[in-house]
Amino acid sequence: MLSLRNLSKRFGGVVAVDGVSLDVGAGEVHALIGPNGAGKTTLIHQISGTLAADAGEILFLEKDITRLPAHRRVAVGLARSYQITSIFRRFSVLDNLALAVQARSGSSFSFWRPVAEETALFEEARLIASQVNLTQKLDAVASTLSHGEQRALEVGLALATRPKLVLLDEPMAGMGPEESKRMIGLIGRIRAEVSVLLVEHDMDAVFRLADRISVMVNGRLIATGFPEQIRMHEEVRKAYLGDELAA
């Protein structure tokens, strides 16, 4: 589905992403782990088109999208969430989601007909809301939601674009155990419909959700494999996991 070939990005003298090759298969939840500053978010930025690649290529559904602008990548089925919550804070939950649905259903260069009359948009938005457990909060202004709810809306916005692959950048960042559990449940449910590339520090979540795991250190992938392989991987344990997982 998604295939990265020798992707690189440098900022001045710092090599943030160094020749990364990675494959995410259809229906797979692929976790990307690594210490802070390893280049995980930079990689996500490159895949989503926020940052241009210095070298290498990105193939999505067998098409080269390396030079495709960010908004066009969404149209071919590649959506993302952000590490730092990025929602429309002054819009209601329903309007947030309806806006995301609107992006993929017909032209928005429409100047006369009120959006409020387009019931299909809002029905679809309600569906997404129930998927991310926000049905009770449809009319709440996004900025008034709890942190966990905002994170759920963040994922909902990505899902509302009907992606084939969704890039989730630390969806559990800053969450308490209860909220994390709910997010794990959510990702577990969506995996039936959409492939996931998951960047996450919560190892419990990673090992519970991931089909495969890639480990990134200093811009390079040092290992890719099934969770059991990664758990036992000498180099990974040394570089990142620490000894508590050796038990």
Binding site: S48, T50, P69, A70, H71, R72, V74, A75, A79, R80, Y82, S86, I87, F88, R89, R90, F91, D95, L99, A100, Q102, A103, R104, S107, S108, F109, S110, F111, W112, R113, P114, V115, A116, E118, L157, A158, A160, T161
Partner: protein, 311 residues
């Protein structure tokens, strides 16, 4: 809804009341407010709803005015030709200035729109064939409606009708798909892009629509005084429009019209009347104090403060 009917009735009755009171001057003054209301509403579209702080809006206002003035001097007085030409030229100017400026953000955007507007200002200052520094006088107001627009009451109603039309169009636009996207881009440009919206195109089109409306307002202001001068394009004019929007309410539907009305009324009150006596030359001082108070105590502007109260 009730409020808008009251406003419409008052606006329609105004010329007759003023005539009955033998204060026709105020009909002309009200027309001026209506024209600035249109210009300020156009700025509010980009500034308030689109989040683009354009500090060069006078360029489009002035360009519209100059097109009507120049055509009138050249003998083209029909409003069916000169007004659409004013709108088209202002829209084209907005397209070119926007295409470049919208590649920048924040302070750079403010500065680059200001720079473009000042460039246009100097173009018209150096246009000796059309008055240069002195500007140019039009022989008469535009023609083409079968009635003489030199009648101030007829002129008032025409401007009122056009303002109502523009406000209706804006009202529809802001509730349409396009309007939602524009506000979404203001709220969070990164996210709007990540949802698949080609943000630049939406901003540019919004900028052009706004410029076109400012161009129409310019065509009207040229007719209002039958005179156009480079001051219409000066950065002070851009600042005045911005103050109107801030006073009235940034991103508030009635922000532009309310701000235009209040600012021009204050200016009239403090500069023309004996209120300040010998200090009326310094009318900007009390106006500045009021602006400061609005920014501090009603950051949503006057329209915003009223909307909150009525809820």
């Amino acid at each position: 809804m009730k409020r808008i009917v009251i406003i419409a009735v008052l606006a329609c009755a105004l010329p007759w009341v003023m005539q009955a009171l033998d204060q026709q001057f105020y009909t002309s003054f009200a027309t001026r407010i209506l024209i600035y209301a249109m210009a300020a509403a156009s700025l509010n579209l980009v500034l308030g709803y689109g989040g683009m702080v354009s500090f060069g809006h006078a360029a489009f206002f002035g360009a519209g005015a100059y097109i009507v003035g120049i055509l009138a001097v050249e003998g083209v007085t029909s409003l069916w030709i000169s007004w659409p030409a004013a709108i088209a030229v202002a829209a084209l100017a907005a397209l070119m200035i926007g295409a470049i400026s919208l590649r920048t953000r924040g302070v750079y955007f403010i500065m680059i729109t200001l720079a473009f507007a000042q460039m246009m200002y100097y173009v018209f200052v150096s246009l000796k064939a059309y008055g240069g520094d002195d500007g140019l006088s039009m022989p008469a107001r535009s023609t083409g409606l079968g009635v003489s627009l030199s009648n101030d009451i007829v002129w008032y109603y025409l401007v009122l009708a056009l303002l109502a039309l523009i406000l209706h169009l804006l009202h529809r636009l802001l509730r349409s798909r396009f309007g939602r996207v524009i506000e979404a881009v203001r709220e969070n440009e990164t996210r709007a892009t990540a949802l698949g919206y080609p943000v630049y195109r939406y901003k540019l089109l919004c900028f052009v629509i706004s410029g076109a409306i400012a161009g129409l307002a310019g065509a009207l202001i040229a007719n209002q005084t039958s005179y156009v001068g480079p001051a219409l394009l000066h950065w002070v004019q851009s600042g005045t429009l911005m103050i109107m929007v801030i006073l009235g309410g940034v991103g508030r539907f009635w922000g532009g019209p309310v701000g235009a009305g209040v600012l021009l009324a204050l200016e009239e009150l403090f500069s023309g009347s004996p209120l300040l006596g010998p200090y009326s030359l310094h009318w900007q001082l009390p106006v500045g104090a009021i602006l400061l108070a609005v920014v501090l105590f009603a950051p949503q502007g006057i329209a915003g403060a009223f909307a909150k109260k009525s809820q």
